[in-house]
């Protein structure tokens, strides 16, 4: 039984080289990237490098099992892509960012964070809400909208409202 066709060996070596290059590039991207989608894309590159190697070895042995198994690999990769993109969408809606460092609480609890504190990217803060300002009674209305009507009585109400919160928090802590 002649397993290796000599005329095809050069092409098959090139296919193996492409598969290995795909796997190595995918592994490097998986280990270095911090974007969730790029990490997922690198994992897909590693998977397809392996499946290309599988097809090549199936061709080398003159059997169809490599191609048949690769079709199943593509099926599982499609399932994985759908679920991973849904998960990425859910994570993005929670943190409004695609950085993987925001989801690093899954490490061991006694180990420090692998990233320095100044390297961490804070999620973008929501813009402050804009409230309309009404003109007080007895004054001509400001048609330009440039003057903000802040009365000293309104300013004096705010510290009293703030000062209620620590006492309530102390009460709840005392109860627990």
């Amino acid at each position: 039984l002649r397993l290796i066709d000599d005329s095809m060996t050069g092409d098959l070596e090139r296919y193996l080289a492409v598969g290995a290059a795909l796997f190595i590039l995918g592994a490097l991207g998986f280990l270095t990237r911090r974007n969730l989608i790029l990490v997922f894309l690198s994992a897909e590159m590693m998977l397809h490098g392996v499946s290309l190697t599988l097809v090549t070895f199936g061709r080398l042995h003159h059997s169809l099992e490599g191609q048949a198994f690769t079709i199943f690999i593509l099926t599982v990769a499609a399932c994985e892509a759908g679920i991973a993109l849904a998960l990425i969408l859910a994570l993005y809606q929670q943190s409004k960012s695609l950085d993987v460092e925001l989801w690093s609480e899954l490490r061991e609890p006694d180990l420090p964070s692998p990233m320095l504190a100044e390297d961490l990217v804070a999620p973008p803060a929501a813009p402050p809400p804009h409230f309309p300002k009404l003109t007080p009674a007895g004054q001509p209305p400001d048609l330009d909208g440039t003057t903000s009507w802040v009365q000293p009585s309104a300013m004096s109400h705010q510290p009293s409202a703030v000062s209620h919160q620590p006492s309530e928090r102390a009460l709840t802590e005392a109860e627990t």
Binding site: G82, A86, Y92, Q93
Partner: protein, 42 residues
């Protein structure tokens, strides 16, 4: 190509059915996991 089809739907028929079921379950799971579309976002 002829041999591949005959191999897929002959020897691996149960695996093909299983892969189709897996695709169905995965698509249903992805729809269940994905967040709802809110106003003005994705």
């Amino acid at each position: 190509m002829h041999g591949l089809g005959r191999s897929l739907f002959g020897d691996y028929l149960f695996a093909v059915e299983l892969a189709g079921t897996l695709l169905l379950v995965a698509s249903i799971g992805a729809v269940a996991i994905a967040p709802r579309r809110s106003q003005g976002t994705l």
